[in-house]
């Protein structure tokens, strides 16, 4: 309610001032046009051409798109890898984030230090330093193997690099991604603090145990936060690729060929800018569709305490 009166008053008090408005958003607006709108338009055009950067683009109509869908094994491999990755890492990352957030919900001695420690992987996880380290961690002589050998869980002959073995390469990248659950954890933590304590007290009086409280109070109260985290993690999952570029470079046998990595390789290793642009446009349309679906279906599973507050 108070928010509503505030906006009404604001509308009255703010006079239209075009010069000031465009002065303040000017840098952003210029950047938006020059570095976003123009490139998007360019890439749409290139997607209908053959272009190797050296010559000039030649128009080929829908040929790139037709080739992608009918005659490109690597495209389907890339889709497969990316979808598998997202389907495994998003639920795992969110589960860890929520679990740890639940641990840190009640203020206790040491919690702020613990929270910082658990967040460290998210701070460093995207760096080249961690990527090169990760490769050694799972290397033939790396930590995982040396530990498994030491406890006798692995025969010395079986030691091999986890990042270059086809069946485990994607797994090492998933572990790396799940490891960085810090941001959704902090968002869950902020959400948990907003749940009124009375709800839990009332439930406890009614005889609800901790598990019932978790599923009947925590999860529903948190549904909009879960939705936000789910959306953000899914989007970033479909787009992730630098760690794959650094650690596995798409290999072995395309087992970690993330979709965006495939775009990158097509564009910058094979100089097929037209084809890569077509791949990028398929991605763009898919992401738009996916985001739309997630938003549309959110009404069915996100519980808003007061419908009026949300638009």
């Amino acid at each position: 309610m108070p928010q509503k009166t505030l906006t009404r008053r604001r509308k009255r008090s703010l006079e239209t001032n075009n010069i000031a408005g465009y002065l303040f958003i000017g840098p952003w607006l210029i950047g938006f046009i020059v570095f976003t709108i123009v490139p998007i338009a360019m890439s749409l055009y290139y997607s209908f051409t053959n272009y190797d950067l050296i010559g000039s683009p030649t128009w080929v109509g829908f040929q790139n798109y037709i080739t992608i869908f009918t005659n490109d094994v690597r495209f389907y491999k890339a889709v497969n890898v990316t979808v598998t990755y997202v389907l495994i890492y998003v639920p795992l990352r969110l589960a860890f984030a929520l679990f740890v957030a639940m641990l840190f919900r009640v203020p206790r001695r040491g919690v702020s230090v613990y929270r910082a420690v658990y967040y460290i992987p998210s701070v460093v996880g995207g760096s080249v330093a961690v990527a090169v380290m990760w490769k050694q961690l799972f290397g033939r002589n790396g930590v995982l193997n040396s530990f498994l050998l030491a406890i006798g869980a692995m025969a010395p002959a079986a030691a091999r690099s986890w990042t270059t073995t086809p069946s485990t390469a994607l797994g090492t990248l998933i572990v790396l991604a799940v490891w960085q659950f810090g941001s959704p954890m902090l968002i869950f933590l902020a959400g948990l603090k907003q749940i009124p304590a009375q709800l839990y007290e009332a439930a406890a009086i009614d005889g609800a145990g901790p598990i019932a409280q978790f599923f009947r109070i925590t999860i529903p109260s948190l549904s909009s936060v879960i939705f936000f985290n789910f959306l953000m993690q899914t989007i970033s999952g479909f787009l992730s690729f630098t760690q794959a570029l650094l650690i596995t470079n798409g290999g072995p046998m395309d087992r970690t060929l993330f979709y965006v990595l495939y775009i990158y390789l097509k564009g910058f290793s094979f100089n097929e800018m037209g084809y890569a642009s077509a791949l990028a446009w398929i991605m763009l349309l898919f992401m738009a569709l996916l985001t739309g679906i997630i938003f549309k279906t959110s009404n069915y599973w996100v519980f808003y305490e007061s419908k009026g507050a949300n638009k």
């Binding site: 952003w28 570095f35 910082a116 995207g126 330093a129 902090l186 570029l245 564009g267 990028a280 991605m283």
Partner: protein, 282 residues
Amino acid sequence: MNRKTKRALTTFAYHFFVILFGFLMIYPVLWMMASSFKPHADIFTDAYSLIPRRVVFANYANGWRGFGNNTFGTFFANSFKLVIPATIGVVITSAMAAFGFARVRFRLSKLWFTCMIITMLLPMQVLMIPQYILFNKLGWTDTYLPIIVPAFCGQAFFIFLNMQFIQGIPIELDESATIDGCGRVGIFLRIMIPLIWPAMITSMIFSFYWRWEDYLSPLLYIRTAKKYPVSIALKLFSDPASVSDYGAMFAMSVLSLVPVFVIFVAFQRYLVEGIATTGLKG
């Protein structure tokens, strides 16, 4: 067993579990640090060990020497030359745009605001190819311009973060300042900036992290080894062509994370609040 001991046991179990799990979480980072002090021959004997049998600093000296004529001093300087201007630019222009969207009424503002929100969800990787072609045509390759110039156009995520802060500031402040004869620019500089600086610091931290750790943009645009930032230089260690001096690689990796840790320790509070605000109100 009375209530008191039961409680003490629960507390003990809690801390035991949290510390154990936390140790596993930062184990890889600790391992990297430990390995950077191990002699070359020791790194992969009992690799999992966190305690070097002999502590040596040779890895740091070897690593610092870098590649060719370029030491890691050059690479670090390059990273700062790239990250600092870009971060200053993005923090200022994002705060400006946020003020414009939140507090000034102008034509088409709704349309531009929607565009801004869409760019937050837009997969920027899709722009990788056309932006490369664009910057190539502008003759910006092998300079830091493709990284620095777009930063001076703000970033949707930071605009949004600043807007969240501005919306919490009572409009009456703007009104009374207007009555006192303060223009929009004056309101922004004298009233908004002193109040939204926590949001600006949060933007600064994230911008620093993202650009410091960025590997893709320099990979695409920087050709000359003399201009490489730290991220690219680190990758050279693990290229099959170069001599694999893992000790030196770990040593320089640890050094590359020093600025990241310093900022994390100094500004942790802003980081946590920044994520919580944008996350919750998103």
